[in-house]
């Protein structure tokens, strides 16, 4: 069995175990969930480090054996694969494996999941249900990042839908939590259904759900008429996937569920959703839509580039006006998705590498920011920035981390976000000069305005009159936050750690670029 199966299976198995434990054993749920996600994290680190064996020990590459799939795995650089027949009638397999993009996403997801279970201490009622739902969500999204069967990918991602609804409803905060719960559910299900239609159409075109066979087929027939399907069909499927997945990510103008939902969600849910689950749409765009539908991409990506400006510019401006800390972080996180979309729309190796880097960096950052704001809420019972002032004095550790998180959000060098965003801009510059210029401007100026303003009101200055008494993070509580910041800095100072992995997915990028006109390729 592939270690990936354990990474996904641990949280799911723990959810099953928790389901039969009597609900009085409250400590058991907390520790059970932490152990399971810690196990996943350690395994993910192992897989991450074992992904490239040191050259000296490397045995000669195995000749492609037997099945067609294993030959393709070698060709496209997938490792730790496992393939089991699941539903033969529908030609669906349990098929997992990771390439460079997959492994960095799995690592990021496991890291944020562990941090999220550690930050779930505010949950004091009905812990059993909460941790079961959280683990279901975690196992599902970890699995989605490692699926090589696109049905399985969709299936596992959808595991998060119902838990999100119940978690916001039961443990959420604020007056509007019911509204937020419905809104997030309806938007996400609409996006998911459009994606499902696209997935089924892909299957009918290629006759398989296996991502690798599809890639192989698309590579062979790229540019030829025979066997490849027509540009019209590509356009339809790409549109379904782009808008379906776009809704899941919060593409402007379908983003309004995100800030509202994150504002109302309990801390751990917001961390998982904003940090990890939202990245699934981008992941699937890069891994499925771009390489399989190069001609469709050519038609739709300029539109995506325009829409991403809505994310970067509009959501940035909206974030400037927020008085609630969570809404500010939520809107800024939607704005950051714009950079990823821009990187995707550029379809250059540099742009796509940057997009994946932003996905990883933003996952960690969103986890950190929502975790910190959740802790503040558990202390102060409000996130209204007009009532919360001068917190740095009473909460030095929390305040320092918050400053770092907000600074990372506006792209301070040293954090992984800076490296990623810069790479995206390099990649997108030649393809969309105007949009990139506006993007850079708004990233630097608008982002700086709201982040610095938040730092000024929230942290600096004297303690406000209405500010309640708050306590700083103590001892072990600091661990998840410190972990996230440490990794953000690590990837910021040494981005080669992830870019090396991402560059292993070159085949995906090369295939994606086939649809672009030769002139653009030449300009690189």
């Amino acid at each position: 069995m592939s270690p990936l199966t354990y990474i996904m299976g641990l949280p799911l198995a723990m959810a099953l175990i928790l389901a039969v434990v009597p609900s009085e054993k409250r400590q058991f749920f907390r520790w059970g969930a932490r152990m399971a996600t810690l196990g996943s994290l350690l395994l993910a680190i192992y897989v991450f480090s074992a992904f490239d064996p040191p050259i000296t020990d490397q045995p000669a590459p195995l000749p492609a054996q037997g099945t067609e799939e294993s030959a393709l795995e070698n060709e496209y650089g997938y490792k730790f694969t496992q393939r089991v027949e699941w539903i033969p009638s529908l030609n669906i397999h349990y098929y997992v494996g990771v390439d460079g993009i997959g492994i960095v996403m799995v690592l990021m997801a496991a890291l944020v999941a562990f941090a999220a279970t550690c930050c779930a201490q505010e949950i004091r009622t009905r812990e059993k249900e909460f941790y079961i739902l959280l683990l279901l969500m975690t196992g599902g999204i970890l699995g989605a990042f490692m699926s090589l069967d696109i049905f399985l990918m969709y299936f596992l991602h959808e595991l998060a839908l119902v838990p999100t609804f119940i978690m916001i409803g039961v443990w959420g905060r604020g007056q509007d939590k019911d509204f937020a719960a419905y809104k997030i559910t309806l938007y996400l299900s609409l996006g998911a259904l459009l994606t499902l239609a696209g997935v089924i159409m892909l299957y009918l075109q290629f006759g398989t759900f296996s991502l690798l066979s599809m890639m192989d087929h698309a590579t062979q027939f790229a540019g030829t008429e025979a066997g490849a399907f027509s540009a019209t069909e590509q356009n339809v499927i790409f549109a379904l996937l782009m808008f379906g997945l776009g809704i899941l990510v919060g593409l402007w103008p379908f983003h309004t569920w995100a800030p509202l939902g994150y504002g109302a969600a309990p801390t751990a849910t917001a961390m998982m959703h904003a940090g990890v689950i939202k990245k699934f749409g981008l992941f699937m765009l890069i891994k499925v839509a771009l390489p399989l539908l190069p001609q469709g991409a050519q038609t739709w990506l300029p539109i995506l580039a325009l829409l991403c400006l809505g994310n970067i510019l509009y959501c940035g401006l909206v974030a400037m006006r927020q008085k609630d800390l969570n809404l500010l972080i939520g809107n800024s996180s939607v704005a950051h998705m714009g950079f990823v979309f821009l990187g995707i729309a550029s379809v250059t190796t540099i742009g796509l590498t940057g997009a994946v880097m932003v996905m990883v960096a933003h996952g960690l950052l969103a986890g950190l920011a929502f975790g910190l704001s959740g802790y503040l809420y558990s202390q102060a019972r409000t996130l209204d920035m007009e009532k919360l002032q001068g917190l740095l004095a009473s909460m030095p550790f929390w305040g320092t981390l918050m400053i770092m998180a907000l600074m990372a959000g506006c792209g301070l060098p040293g954090f992984a976000n800076f490296a990623g965003e810069l790479t995206v801009f390099f990649g997108a510059w030649k393809v969309y000069p105007v949009i990139t210029t506006i993007g850079i401007w708004s990233a630097l100026v608008i982002g700086a305005v709201y982040m610095l303003r938040a730092i000024r009101t929230l942290l600096h200055g004297m303690k406000g009159e209405q500010t309640p008494e708050v306590e700083d993070l103590k001892h072990w509580q600091r661990l998840p936050y410190a972990l996230l910041v440490a990794v953000l800095l690590l990837f910021g100072f040494y981005p080669k750690l992830i870019t090396d992995k991402i560059s292993k997915s070159n085949a995906t990028f090369e295939q994606a670029k086939k649809g672009q006109t030769p002139t653009e390729e030449a300009t690189e």
Partner: protein, 493 residues
């Protein structure tokens, strides 16, 4: 005629009569316990009839056929009848007239459904439908002391009778134009029709017969009876209506279309009509369910929407579509029975079916809360449950037929919109379970007392739990059998 061929039907009828007889010598307080015996008996009869099929007894020229399609549906009917009988047992306290009659009628209805599964001629089709419908007239109005139950019975009687009349007229037209009653004979004769007026009569006849069957299925525009009847009928009867009676309509439609109408299958208007009905049914059901507060009514509208999804599979007029329909139905039965069982237990305690009675259910009975949640999620079609696989198979078949059928994208669009709308009302039920505030018009907080679930209902709930998750994660066995059952249904023509 080979009597062994119809052993399931005979067995079900005998079982029904036996229950009525045994009832005479059973003390009143133990009558409800008969349910265990009936359920066991049904399983036994089914297993016996299955061995007959295994021996390869083929068809007769009797208008009845026991092929793999018939056996699939008979298994389906027995499964839902067994679950309904067990549900009836836990409902017994609310039945003032004899509980044994309720068991007996369930058996008779099962016999009718089982005949429907194998009906191969218009006569048996009509007899089977009438056997089901007339039994249900009685069953719906079984709680005579409740006005709503009587109202439901009357409504079902009048509308059902009207639809039977239409259907029998249609059958007469088919017979008049083709001179045959068995499906294959009708198809042969219709293929040879070269008189335009006769062809018109034949088409009209087919449409009217289909209309009568769509009444069972509750497809728009034959859906008007559903909400009132579902709400008024005793909950076990409602359950059987939405699982058994509906499926009987579906198997008859499948056979009628595939065997008796090959000349029409290529006609664009038939597909367009079915497509229009599918879209209208899905949207009508989903939109009307939005504002319902009565749980049985809500599920009534949701069952209309499900009928629309079944139609989505039928529109494709392909083996793949039929396979998806069969699987969808099997997935559907666990969701519907699970939901109705919980509603039945909860509404007994509060003698109310308002959605607010579900408040605090997660605390009062974790088992019921879990099963109801999973049932509802499955009906909504969310992974990893059975309902998702059903909807996935249907969508796949529908999208596959886009190439041959230009109206299809619109129907699929309507279906997707319907699914998104349905999330709203399905998730409202989930909200009530987990954080409902109870009756907003009343002062007192909702009860938090533990809610006991009768043993029989517990068995039903565990079966549904198992079915929902099992079919969601491992749909292969059922998909395979469904594929076998529908292998040459449409492609044989």
């Amino acid at each position: 005629m080979d009597l062994q061929l119809v052993s399931l039907e005979i067995g079900a009828c005998l079982l029904g009569i036996m229950v009525l007889l045994v009832d005479l010598w059973t003390p009143a307080e133990r009558k409800a316990q008969l349910g265990w015996w009936v359920a066991g008996g049904l399983v036994g009869v089914f297993c016996y009839s299955f061995t007959i099929f295994d021996q390869g007894t083929g068809t007769g020229a009797t208008g009845y056929v026991k092929d793999s399609l018939a056996v699939y549906f008979q298994g389906y009917f027995v499964l839902s009848a067994v679950l309904v009988v067990l549900l009836t047992q836990s409902y017994a306290a609310r039945i003032r007239s004899g509980i044994s009659e309720l068991y007996a009628f369930t058996c008779f209805a099962l016999a009718g459904m089982s005949f429907a599964a194998g009906a191969n001629s218009l006569v048996l089709l009509f007899v089977a439908v009438e056997l089901i419908t007339i039994t249900f007239y009685v069953l719906t109005s079984f709680e005579r002391h409740r006005l709503r139950s009587l109202e439901a019975g009357i409504k079902y009687l009048i509308l059902g009778a009207a639809s039977s009349a239409i259907m029998v007229f249609g059958i007469a037209l088919i017979y008049g134009s083709t001179g045959a009653l068995d499906f294959h004979g009708v198809a042969r004769a219709a293929n040879g029709l070269n008189d335009d007026s006769m062809m018109l009569l034949y088409q009209l006849g087919v449409l009217m017969t289909l209309g009568g069957l769509f009444f069972k299925l509750a497809a728009v525009p034959f859906q008007l009876w559903v909400p009132d009847v579902y709400q008024g009928a005793p909950t076990p009867v409602t359950t059987f209506l939405s699982t058994g009676s509906k499926a009987a309509g579906i198997v008859l439609i499948l056979r009628l279309l595939a065997d008796a109408c090959p000349p029409l299958l290529g006609e664009a208007w038939l597909r367009q009509l079915l497509a229009l009905m599918a879209a209208a049914t899905i949207l009508y059901g989903s939109l009307c369910a939005l504002r319902q507060r009565n749980l049985k009514r809500l599920l009534g509208y949701s069952s209309i929407a499900s009928a629309g999804f079944v139609l989505l599979g039928l529109v494709t007029l392909s083996d793949q579509g039929a396979q998806a329909v069969l699987f969808y139905l099997t997935a559907y039965v666990f969701g519907v029975v699970g939901a109705f069982t919980v509603i039945s237990v909860v509404s007994e305690e509060s003698s109310d079916e308002d959605i607010s009675t579900l408040a605090n259910l997660h605390q009062r009975s974790p088992l019921m809360a879990t099963v109801l949640t999973l049932s509802i999620i499955s009906l909504a079609g969310v992974p990893p449950l059975a309902g998702f696989m059903g909807k996935f198979a249907l969508l796949r078949a529908a999208i596959d037929s886009v190439a041959v059928h230009p109206v299809m994208p619109w129907v699929i669009g309507a279906a997707l919109v319907g699914v998104v709308i349905s999330f709203y009302y399905y998730f409202t039920v989930i909200r009530e379970i987990f954080w409902g505030k109870g009756r907003f018009w009343a002062e007192e907080a909702p009860s938090t007392e533990p809610l006991l679930c009768p043993r029989a209902a517990e068995v039903v709930l565990l079966t549904c739990l198992f079915g929902l998750i099992g079919l969601g994660l491992f749909p292969e066995p059922i998909l395979f059998i469904a594929g076998e059952a529908t292998e040459y249904l449409f492609s044989a023509n």
